[in-house]
């Protein structure tokens, strides 16, 4: 019997002409005791679907059944049997871990005698036992998320709906969360439906639903979805060119669906099963060997088939200057908020024309470091130089050398694309001819022409990202700061974005990027791995991964590296104390 059955579901938001379908013709069934992943870009309708299944939203049309209850009529009896964890779980920050659990037990009418064993079980499972008396507000991001999950599991539910439970959480907590969820399915026969941005999580589920613009683009087991892609993926190695230069060459070929840098090679996905004709340039020639397909390949190729038009920014004519001069220098940087050290003894330097990454989970201190570099926040101690100046104390004019794309692409929502561009151009001191040229460049290069009169607030997320990038590039800065530029953006837009950053770096612009996606480390020339305000490692992706290479793990991923480095670091600090 199926635990969840959805038929011809439709839900739309808005009024009049701006009414948009968030979900249409959605039809699927989920077997009892199975685990299903809901994947798709931001705005695809994942959250709406989960909210409808939790009985908090009313569908416009279609039939919804969860555990035999028809929704929305029987929402109340159903809600006693399901657990729904929204993206931002409503923990009471001023209550302790135990008080939060008690509160949710009260809300679910759990009898007194059943509480203690359940609490103990949940606290052991989440390893939150030692923190029973700590306030929820004082927990780390990963611990909060685990507590949220524990509160959701309190009754215990028969169906578990999780909305991006692991986004932005550090890899260790992510693994822990995953094992808790997995145990619910194996031992307690709970039916799980979870939305996720991580393909590796989806790959481990029984069933995958790919949602795009409110429609189900594909569904099936991960193996079923990947099967048609087998034989389309290759790894190009040992070419004379750097993988990044290689990528910009190969990505332009007509049959190439996707390219991704992987270590010192380039992973290529092609449309046909024929061998890939490489460009005649001898520097491109290398060893091309087939590799197994991944779920992500299927995802990207499905999106690609739907929307084959894709722009690949051409690398600029000017070649990068010698990578020597350090344009950003950070030495023993500290930042305290009260007694809490958000950034501890961080040092690194960035050379001209480099793509430099700051990687880490939410709360690792990436954004704080960024804000100090941009002069938005004073450092507690340490030295900072950006293009030879401290942006905080230096002259305002020094800020003209940098461009900044903030988290969530902050733009003036009530202003149109054209007005946003014009405003930032003037603020950066561009006039008449140059201003016109740069705005024209931005509209052309970032393909914003069709949206010229649209308010920034109404743009799709991918276009918001482009507009934010355009505004930051108006004055052709020599250093570009990008704070979480890829979070929430679909894989195609993410690839496009990285291709643009790549082109900028080749033109000599230094790019500093923060991200919590470990696999995006591959796009960086060099990076620092941060955790809890400290730098765990610095170097090129290959160097960092090389540090954790072992006989039983010849090809560690960046996530593997991150986890071993944290464990190693904790080991060292424990021994030191």
């Amino acid at each position: 019997m199926s635990a969840i059955a959805v038929n011809n579901l439709r839900k739309s938001f808005g009024k009049g002409t701006s009414r948009k379908d968030a979900l249409k013709n959605v039809r699927f069934e989920i077997a009892e005791g199975s685990m299903t992943a809901l994947i798709g870009p931001d705005g695809a309708g994942k959250t709406t679907l989960l909210r409808l299944l939790a009985g908090i939203l009313q569908p416009d049309a279609g039939a919804l059944q969860v555990l035999g209850h028809a929704l929305p009529e029987e929402a109340l009896p159903l809600q006693a049997q399901i657990g729904y964890m929204p993206q931002r779980f409503g923990l009471y920050e001023n209550l302790t871990v135990e008080e939060n659990l008690t509160l949710f037990a009260d809300l679910h009418n759990i009898p007194e005698d059943r509480r203690k064993p359940r609490f103990d079980e949940l606290l052991t499972m989440t390893a939150l036992g030692p923190f029973r008396a700590r306030r929820a507000g004082k927990l780390s991001g990963g611990m909060k998320q685990k507590l949220g999950l524990a509160c959701t599991l309190i009754h215990p539910p028969k169906v578990l709906l999780l909305d991006e439970a692991s986004v932005g959480v550090d890899p260790i907590s992510r693994r822990e969360l995953w094992s808790i969820i997995h145990r619910q399915v194996i031992h307690e026969k709970v039916t799980v439906l979870l939305s996720t941005a991580y393909m590796d999580e989806a790959e481990r589920c029984d069933h995958v639903l790919l949602l795009h613009e409110g429609e189900i683009l594909a569904q099936g087991s991960p193996a079923d979805l990947v099967a048609p892609m087998q034989g389309h993926s290759f790894l190009l190695q040992e070419a004379a060119m750097t993988p990044r230069a290689l990528q910009s060459q190969v990505a332009r070929l007509p049959d190439v669906v996707d390219t991704a840098i992987q270590g010192d090679g380039l992973r290529i996905v092609i449309k046909t099963l024929d061998p890939l004709p490489l460009p005649p340039d001898p520097a491109v020639q290398g060893q091309l060997k087939p590799v197994p397909a991944r779920l992500e390949d299927a995802f990207v190729s499905l999106l690609f088939n739907r929307n084959p038009h894709r722009s690949i920014p051409l690398p600029p004519a000017a070649k990068a200057a010698a990578h020597d001069a350090a344009v950003v220098e950070v030495k023993s940087l500290y930042r305290y908020f009260g007694s809490f050290a958000a950034v501890k003894d961080v040092s690194f330097s960035v050379h001209k024309g480099e793509i430099f990454g700051l990687l880490g989970a939410n709360g690792a201190g990436k954004s704080t470091t960024f804000r100090m570099l941009c002069g938005l926040l004073p450092a507690s101690s340490g030295t900072l130089r950006v293009a030879g100046a401290d942006l905080r104390t230096g002259e305002a004019a020094a800020r003209a050398r940098i461009g900044y794309v903030s988290q969530k692409f902050s733009l003036y929502g009530a202003l149109s694309v054209q007005q946003n561009l014009s405003f930032f151009a003037t603020v950066y001191g561009l006039h008449r001819r140059r201003k016109r040229d740069r705005i024209g460049w931005a509209l052309e290069e970032l393909e914003l022409k069709d949206y010229i009169a649209v308010n920034a607030a109404d743009l799709p997320l991918g276009y918001k990202q482009r507009l934010a990038l355009a505004c930051a590039l108006m004055h052709e800065p020599s250093i570009l700061f990008l704070d979480e530029p890829t979070s929430g953006v679909d894989p195609l837009a993410r690839r496009e974005f990285w291709a643009r950053v790549n082109a900028l770096a080749q033109g000599g612009t230094t790019c500093l990027v923060t991200t919590h996606f470990m696999e995006e480390a591959e796009y960086c020339d060099r990076l620092v791995l941060m955790s809890l305000g400290e730098v765990l490692a610095e170097g090129s992706p290959t160097e960092i991964k090389g540090r954790v290479r072992r006989a039983d793990r010849p090809n560690p991923s960046m996530e593997d590296a991150f986890i071993s480095l944290i464990e190693e670091h904790e080991h060292v600090s424990r021994r030191a104390s």
Partner: protein, 372 residues
């Protein structure tokens, strides 16, 4: 310097576009002020009309009926009913079916016929002291007119002193003439403070403020760019309300427009300064809004909008000196009713400029400290 002007101008244009293109903030800017002007203009009046009253007339004569007729015929009073005992008077006041009761003694007409003073008792509902006092004034003037008529009719000796009242500037003592110019001040303050008080907080919330701070614009330019829209919107809104006062409410404008607009600009300087102070402290729009209203309510009460400052305790009177609205109300009422000019208003201008300068400097410092 050459870079400053276009940058500030761009920020001002952006601010105005953000205000006017967003339907929500456009509505906030235009809707509530007009609604308030209409509501205040029509609803807030010190005049009493249709005060319900009951009569317990124990007298059988003609004169008592004449007196009652004068009350019943006056627009200020509405005769609810005649009652027939003392208890009924008590009851009608208690259950608020009447605000006033007239108790005419049994010998009223007879006493008057004989040329002796006669007594009428007026019972008022003191729970609403303000209304009761105003009603009492009306009663006195109706009774005085009744007496005059009696005197004239019977050829009696007139009373030794006769009061002739003439109200200057507002001959009919129309309270709307007093209130509507006051509302111009309140609404201009509200709009000036809302536009500036929320603008920085809105950007902080959206994250665009960081975007602004990493541009080569120095903080002083940002502050200037945030202040100017407040002036523009405040002046436009003030003008609209002044026009409505003149052409809709027919409040006579007797003074000099130049003097009024100098006052308006000085007043906006002070309000925008205070708005910026709130802005530099508030992190969210909610905090900004709360700050604006935390300032607005005492500012209105202490301004002399409804109750005269001279009636306030001395200590409170000193506090009113910090209230910009106090000064602008004098300019407004002076311009509308007194025909005042620039020379007359100078004592109001300079405190406004002082408050404005002070708050701008504080806002600038807070702003810098907040960034540090």
């Amino acid at each position: 310097m050459r870079a400053t002007i276009p940058r500030v101008l761009a920020l001002v244009v952006k601010e105005l576009l953000a205000l006017l293109r967003d339907p929500a903030s456009r509505a906030v800017l235009i809707g509530p002020p007009i609604i308030q002007l209409i509501v205040f203009g029509y609803a807030a009046t010190f005049e009493l009309k249709h005060v319900p009253f009951v009569v317990y007339n124990q007298d059988q004569g003609q004169l008592s009926r004449k007196l009652v007729a004068r009350f019943a015929g006056a627009p200020s009073f509405d005769l609810v009913r005649f009652v027939h005992d003392q208890r009924a008077i008590e009851q009608s006041i208690n259950d608020k079916s009447a605000l006033m009761a007239m108790d005419i003694g049994p010998n009223f007409s007879a006493d008057l016929e004989r040329g002796r003073p006669a007594h009428v008792q007026i019972v008022l509902d003191g729970r609403d002291s303000n209304t009761a006092a105003i009603a009492m004034g009306y009663v006195e003037s109706i009774v005085a007119r009744f007496n005059q008529a009696q005197v004239a009719q019977h050829g009696m000796r007139p009373p030794p002193a006769v009061l002739l009242d003439r109200a200057w500037f507002n001959p009919n003592l129309d309270s709307r003439w007093f209130i509507v110019p006051g509302i111009c001040g309140i609404l201009t303050l509200l709009v000036g403070m809302l536009t500036t008080g929320l603008s920085v907080a809105r950007e902080r919330e959206m994250g665009t403020f960081d975007q602004l701070l990493v541009t080569p614009m120095p903080p002083a330019e940002i502050l200037l760019g945030k202040a100017l829209p407040g002036f523009l919107v405040g002046t436009a809104e003030g003008t609209l309300i002044i026009l409505m006062a003149i052409f809709w409410f027919h409040v006579p404008f007797t003074g000099s427009l130049i003097a009024l607009y100098i006052g308006l600009l000085c007043f906006l300087f002070a309000s925008v300064g205070i708005g910026l102070m709130i802005s530099s402290l508030a992190v969210t729009q909610q905090q900004g809004l709360l700050g604006v209203f935390l300032f607005m309510v005492p500012a209105i009460v202490l301004s002399g909008f409804a109750t005269p400052i001279a009636n306030m305790p001395q200590a409170v009177q000193y506090i009113t000196l910090l209230d910009p609205l106090r000064y602008f109300l004098i300019v407004l009422r002076g311009s509308f009713l007194e025909g005042g000019g620039i020379a007359l208003f100078w004592p109001q201008y300079w405190p406004l400029i002082t408050i404005g300068l002070f708050s701008m400097i504080v806002a600038g410092n807070l702003f810098r400290k907040r960034l540090a």
